[in-house]
Every structure is written in C-alpha cells, then in structure tokens.
C-alpha cells in the first residue's frame, strides 16, 4: 500500500512541477497556487484542533503516522516552490537581458548612417 502512495506522490510532484514550469506566470497558475495555499492553510488549522484527523487520513492512505503525511506534503510543496521560483527567475532574466540589450544598442554608433566613415 505504501508503494502505491509513493508512486502517486511522485506522479503528483512531476505533474504539478511540469504544469507550473511550462505555463509561466499567468492568471490560471496564480489561481492554482492560491487554491493550493488555501487548502494547505485549512488543513493546518484543522490539524491544530483535531490532531488525530491527520493520523486517520494518513492511515487511509496507508501511511504510518500523520507527521509522515505532513512531511510528504512539505516535500511536494517545496518542489513546487522550487519549480515556480526557477521559472520566475528565468522570466526576470529574460526581461533584464532585453532591457540591457536595448540600452546597449541604442547607445552605439551606427556607421552606416554617416557615410563619411
């Protein structure tokens, strides 16, 4: 049973990472991230009032303890965070490159415009 959960988790990680990496930072992905955050917050609050719920959910999934479930969730969200940060970093870098290139070319002489050269 554990192996099934592990395979599911790995698939979730790969899928979510790919979806968020491919699409860039459009409104749909922002919405997905916010929904995920909302779910996470709700789960966190619930687990404070009903700690045993986590363990129950974990045992449904065949995971030993509630803390293990939290750990898995943490790993998934960390990987998603890494993927989105990388994507955002790339976008910033591309914009910065375009800006720097524009400045560099604009400041350069154009010998073909002055035939005296």
């Amino acid at each position: 049973m554990l192996i099934v959960v592990q395979i599911l988790l790995v698939c979730a990680v790969v899928l979510v990472s790919l979806v968020l990496m491919r699409g860039g930072s459009n409104a749909r992905h922002l919405a997905i991230r916010r929904i995920m955050l909302l779910l996470f917050a709700t789960a966190a609050v619930l687990s404070i009032f009903f700690p045993e719920v986590l363990s129950t959910v974990a045992s449904w999934l065949g995971i030993g303890r509630g803390t293990d479930l939290v750990l898995y969730a943490l790993i998934v969200s960390f990987l998603v965070f890494m993927a989105t940060s990388y994507q955002r970093h790339r976008q910033t870098e591309i914009s910065l490159t375009k800006l720097a290139r524009r400045i560099a070319i604009d400041e350069t002489e154009r010998p073909w415009e002055s035939p005296s050269r």
């Binding site: 870098e93 591309i94 490159t97 720097a100 290139r101 400041e107 073909w112």
Partner: protein
Amino acid sequence: MSRTWVVIPMYNESTVVVDVIRGLLPTFPNVVCIDDGSTDECAQAARDAGAVVVQHPINLGQGAALQTGIEYALQDPGMDSIVTFDADGQHRVEDAREMVERLSSGEADIVLGSRFLDDRTKMGPVKRLVLKTAALQSKLATGMDLTDAHNGLRAISRSVAEDIHLTQNRMAHASELVNQLAVLEHRWVEHPVEIIYTDYSKAKGQSLLNSVNILAELFLR
C-alpha cells in the same frame, strides 16, 4: 551593396581581441564587438583597433552577447550576412572568408564551422569525446546530422539572422541555436575550419565540467 558584419562577443579579452580585430579588418571592414560588462579595458582597446563596440551595462553571458551582436547588425539595412567569431583568437579569418563565399554563392542560408571535417585541429581525446557527445545529443534532439555542435565560427545570412532568438544567456546558446535552426528548416551546410588552441584559449575555454551546466540549462528551460 552587400555588407558582412563580424560579431565578436568579448568578456575581459583585452590581451587578445586587438590582434583578432586587426586580423579581421583587411578582409571584413565591419567588425562589431559586444563588450559583455568587462572589467578590463577591452572596450576601448577594441574601439582603438577599429571595431564598433556595443557595451552591455551588466554581464549577461556569451549567448546574450551573440544575440545583441546579431540584433545590432540587423539594424544595418545594407547587411546581408553575419559572421560569429570568438574573441580569443582560436578561429582563422581565412576560414570565415571561405564560409561567407559559400553563403553568397547561394549554396546555403547558414554555414556552420566544424573542426571534425578534416584533421587540421589538434585536440585531446577527452575534449574530442565531449564534443562528439554534444554533437550526438543535437542529432538525437533535432535530426540535424552535425559533426560539431559547439563551434563558435558561423556565417549566417540575413534571413536566418532575423529568425534567431537566443534566450539562453550562458553556455547553452550553441545548442539552442541548433534547435532553432532545426525548426526553421533553413538550408545549412558545414564547413571545415581549424581551431587554434593557444594556451590562452585553453585557459579561457569551457572546462569539461561546464558541459554539465550546458545540459542542465537545456533541460530546465
């Protein structure tokens, strides 16, 4: 009116770039150096040697410098071909001239230099293996049967230059260029060139570990 622009990305190359420019000017009067945020005096040195210098305000990487050079040359309405040339003196002007001739004869839209088409270039077995692996990777990824995917000497016609948009700022730009060529279906041909490995170019050149970075940048687009 036909003009060839030689594009030279440079980063802290003041000791060698002057000789490279002087060697090029008799054959190619239009040379543009892209100073990629150098901290030495190579921008002024290149200007004094007779080249046009485009200065990046910050260091962006060789791929970004190449794209800047291409976009600068595209602004010249009289430009009909671009030669990309390395600043460290490892390419021969004679090879570049022959490549532009093949371009203007209408044989192809882009002429790519290859050090594996004849036995002039001397290199170590490990470097040979790495370059061969890179060429094989491009072949598997694009279907283009290149013998040398990471050669900095190329002659590019205007129509191809207009279609090139390099976004890989650092070392993966050579593979990115090949990927874009494969999609565009321009006519390409390889030309035998000699790479002159001086102590300087060996010290500046890509270390073998850097091929790990190239692969990572390609897969994590």
